[in-house]
């Protein structure tokens, strides 16, 4: 028998006997013959562990890991060694959703800590147990606004939100019957006047903006909360949680909902996933939050303990009346970022941003100094910035890739702009090497 199946031949015989059938085939007797699959799958035969290793190594050799100067929703921040080793503990890794709280306090406690830390970073009052990613979290924020507004089915989103996020929000909007409109951008940021005009009809359930935005610009949302709230519209801010250690938070901007992707909290790039979305809100929206939420309580002996709470909101209770269908989320990744936030702590996350800021501005100045680049917009940025180049962008990217660099990502909708990102992991030597390779170009 195979190593994952503990059944010996005598086990099978004894078990069949108790069941009262004479073969494993008998267990499938009720399946109509017309739909039985009686062939072998057209798949490879069983590989031993070493063969699996060889095969993955072969596939891995077809990839080219690059020194990353790219962001756009996936940031190459430092990942402390501790985290991967702790989340590999099988008590975390192989547990199910904590539906039996008496033997799931481990999961429940870290989710409570996750919620607490995300609230700290975003300045919000409550938060759920995690979402799939930043894009779907933003789509769920939109659905929250719709559910909250009851009679409105329009949401407006700034064009300066990442195109990856917009793409997902659009999909959800279309199938859910939400009218999605776009607030135009003006000099790289959300056009506030245009937004106010769109709000005037009093039919908008929510406004979605982001910071830093798709160009890396730190937007100034002064007055946004006042304008939206004046029209009973929810103000939703998609925010990079890492940057929130130093930037004005959604809470401080007066947001009703904050959402975004936790990948920037030290998670490996991992070709795009698993990452972790977060969704946080003001206290009065807590019953509109989708997904799991953990609350503190006591057991019958008076011991402090944690439990899934407000479950009346959820799909397994409300079924089609639930605001969301979310069930599995990204729990283990929530643990990942929780441990990251604990390790980096109050000071470390600030330092990450300080170093990223310094590196990004250093690179930016060096690029401008080559004479081959100009800033797309002269606006404040943190670790990401968009520049136009006089060089052939695609040729440049390909050339630098061959030298081992991922030199930013093309800004969608342009043929000469690149979005660069510098995290605290990039050394001066790496930046200088990149720039001198660029200087040698064309």
């Amino acid at each position: 028998m195979y190593k994952y199946f503990p059944h010996t031949e005598s086990d099978i015989a004894e078990m069949l006997e108790r069941i009262g059938v004479s073969s494993l085939d008998d267990l499938y007797a009720e399946i109509p013959e017309s739909i039985r699959f009686d062939k072998d799958y057209n798949l490879h035969q069983s590989m031993s562990e070493d063969e699996v290793r060889s095969y993955f190594k072969e596939l891995g050799n077809l990839n080219h890991p690059l020194i990353s100067f790219a962001g756009g929703g996936a940031y190459d921040h430092y990942s402390p060694s501790v985290i991967a080793q702790l989340i590999a503990r099988s008590e975390y890794l192989t547990a199910y959703t904590p539906y039996q709280p008496e033997i799931s306090q481990g999961t429940l406690q870290y989710i409570f800590e996750f919620q607490s830390m995300i609230c700290e970073l975003t300045g919000m009052e409550c938060c759920n147990a995690s979402m799939y990613d930043g894009a779907t979290a933003t789509a769920e924020a939109m659905l929250m606004a719709i559910a909250h507004a009851k009679k409105r089915n329009k949401v407006i989103i700034s064009r300066t939100v990442s195109e990856r996020v917009i793409a997902v929000v659009e999909t959800y909007a279309r199938f859910h019957g939400v009218v999605l409109d776009y607030i135009p951008e003006k000099e790289g940021v959300t056009d506030k006047a245009a937004m106010e005009q769109m709000l005037a009809a009093d039919d908008v359930a929510g406004v979605i903006v982001s910071t830093p935005n798709r160009y890396g610009i730190i937007e100034d949302f002064t007055g946004f909360a006042e304008s939206t709230h004046a029209h009973k519209t929810l103000f939703i801010v998609n925010a990079d949680p890492s940057a929130m250690a130093v930037l004005k938070t959604p809470g401080e901007w007066g947001a009703d909902i904050a959402c975004g992707d936790g990948q920037s909290l030290g998670m490996p790039l991992n070709f795009g996933g698993p990452y972790v979305g977060y969704l946080a809100a003001t206290r009065d929206l807590v019953r509109k939050l989708p997904g799991r939420i953990v609350g503190a309580t006591k057991d019958v002996d008076g011991k402090r303990a944690f439990v899934l709470t407000l479950q009346a909101r959820e799909q397994h209770i409300r079924r089609q009346k639930a605001n969301s269908n979310i069930c599995s989320n990204q729990s283990l990744m929530a643990l990942y970022v929780t441990i990251y936030m604990a390790l980096m702590g109050k000071r470390g996350l600030q330092e990450v941003n300080e170093k990223s800021y310094a590196g990004a501005h250093y690179l930016c100045d060096k690029l401008l100094a080559t004479g081959k680049f100009s800033l797309c917009f002269d606006k404040p940025f943190l670790k990401e910035f968009a520049v136009r180049t006089t060089l052939n962008r695609e040729k440049l990217l390909k050339h630098l890739e061959e030298k081992g660099f991922l030199a930013g990502i093309p800004v969608e909708g342009t043929d000469d702009a690149l979005l660069f990102c510098v995290t605290e992991k990039r050394t001066r030597e790496e930046i200088d090497n990149l720039v001198s390779l660029i200087e040698q170009e064309g």
Partner: protein, 483 residues
């Protein structure tokens, strides 16, 4: 018993990280306008590395995983999560890839995605898969979007209803609602399967399709499925297969062959990736040939021997920021390669064997509402002896004292005292025999000492919780805890 929160071991000045010295000269965050900066620092913990390691080690010990003990949680397929999968998923040649690198530089990752998608297609009897959805429910939503997109692209705009059996998982109706579909429930027969006679009248040109699991949530194979498929297709609808229960059919029966047009698979169930305390999962969605063009963006395709990322014009759009939970896919593919075609089949039949063995061994103590051969799971409707006052909840809690995770309880909703048991194929006869003995002991205790059972668990890290107060006055973050 360790019961501190990380915030409670924090002290100003402690650090748990090290960052390189930077040497970029005089650039300073302080140059950012004050109006764009937060006013007070986030009150994150300040702890040393050992503090963190010890804390999350001790916290982990309050949890129960598959490697701790038997996890007979119905409808969750808590099979063994092989270690080689974890080893493969940690390979730096994959984990260090940025999702926006050029296709040229990620050929290995794209090939893995492509090959896994095609292995799933072979296993399901469908034409093609997207691996982008992040979880089962997300797969359902994506699948229903595909269903709607299909009708929309054909100009068939009236089809806004979806039929769901009354025994369905809660995510089914919820996904339908999020997708803008109206739910029509079809009742079950006393044998627990869809009542075909009651289905027929529901079928008209407003029906987008039907969502089913097969075997259903009672573990019963819906053997009328060929007829159901004929009827639904006949009215112009599509059939959606909820793959949560795929495990027992491996190598025996394929959803595509049954007539399903769309399905999702939970990689974290059938394909052995860990549940992680509630995710990350992965919910690939497969479709019949007629729906391939509607699959979400990005799509991974193969041209000659090169892999590329595309998205067709008719695509329903994006459902994920990038390619979905790629790390989960790596694990699932390692599993499929490990088992190979021959062992995949064994997984299904041994899961079925285990479930039937437990069922037959306990039906003299617990009430089995639906007799006959089940597939991967089955449902008891509480204790056979209804006189004790001991509920399904009590039985579940008492099992915790014996070192087991509880079965799924109070689902499906068809019965009042549902106990849903799914042992999976990775458990040995000895483990099942010990569990059977524990279940029998609890049944005896329910008669001999009902109060003790009703106050269980007794030896777990915490005992029964006050869930009412938790919901009435929610305390959802550290800051709101009052002492």
């Amino acid at each position: 018993y360790y019961n501190k929160l990380i915030f409670e071991i924090s002290k100003p000045g402690r650090v748990g990280y090290s960052l390189p010295q930077s040497d970029f000269g005089n650039y300073s965050l302080a140059d950012l306008p004050q109006s764009l900066r937060r006013t007070a620092p986030a009150e994150l913990p300040e702890v040393s590395e050992l503090d963190v390691v010890r804390h999350y080690t001790n916290v982990s010990n309050k949890n129960f995983g598959v490697e701790t003990g038997f996890y007979p949680l119905g409808s969750c397929t808590m099979k063994y999560n092989p270690k080689i999968n974890e080893e493969m998923a940690a390979l730096p040649a994959f984990t260090s890839l940025h999702p926006r690198q050029s296709e040229e530089s990620v050929q290995g990752a794209l090939r893995l995605y492509y090959e896994l998608a095609h292995a799933l297609a072979e296993i399901s009897g469908l034409a093609e898969f997207t691996l982008n959805p992040f979880a089962g429910a997300h797969g359902e939503l994506t699948g229903l979007m595909l269903m709607r997109q299909y009708h929309i692209k054909r100009g068939d705009l009236k089809r806004t209803k979806v039929i769901v059996p009354d025994s369905a998982h809660g995510t089914n109706p919820a996904s339908a609602a999020v997708c803008g579909l109206e739910i029509v429930e079809v009742p079950s027969t006393p044998e627990g399967t869809i009542d075909v006679a009651k289905l027929e009248p529901l079928l008209d040109d407003t029906i987008a399709g039907i969502m089913m699991t097969n075997p259903n949530t009672l573990g019963i194979f819906e053997k009328e499925i060929p007829q159901i498929a004929k009827l639904v297709h006949g009215c112009g609808g599509l059939l959606y297969y909820d793959g949560a229960n795929l495990n027992p059919l491996l190598g025996r029966c394929r959803p595509g062959d049954m007539g399903f047009d769309i399905m999702h698979i939970n990689l974290h169930k059938t394909f052995s990736t860990p549940h992680g305390g509630g995710g990350p999962g992965s919910g690939p969605v497969g479709v019949a040939a007629a729906l391939v063009d509607y699959l979400p963006r990005p799509r991974v395709v193969k041209h000659g021997d090169r892999y590329a990322v595309e998205g067709s014009a008719d695509s329903l759009g994006s459902v994920s920021g990038f390619f979905g939970n790629f790390g989960v896919m790596m694990r699932a593919y390692a599993y499929i390669l490990s088992l190979g075609k021959e062992n995949l089949k064994h997984a299904g039949e041994l899961a079925t064997l285990n479930a039937n063995y437990v069922k037959e061994s306990l039906k003299d103590c617990y009430y089995l509402p639906i007799e006959g051969i089940c597939k991967h799971e089955f449902v008891f409707d509480g204790l056979l002896d209804k006189s004790t006052g001991v509920t399904t909840l009590d039985v579940a809690k008492r099992l915790l004292d014996y070192g087991y995770h509880a079965p799924t309880i109070y689902f499906p909703l068809l019965f009042h005292q549902s106990i849903m048991i799914e042992p999976t194929e990775t458990e040995s006869k000895e483990t099942l025999d010990e569990f059977i003995e524990a279940m029998r002991t609890v049944a005896r205790e329910a008669i001999d000492d009902p109060e003790m059972v009703k106050s269980a668990p007794h030896v777990t890290p915490v005992r029964r919780l006050d869930e009412t107060t938790a919901a009435k006055n929610p305390i959802l973050r550290f800051k709101d805890l009052n002492y």
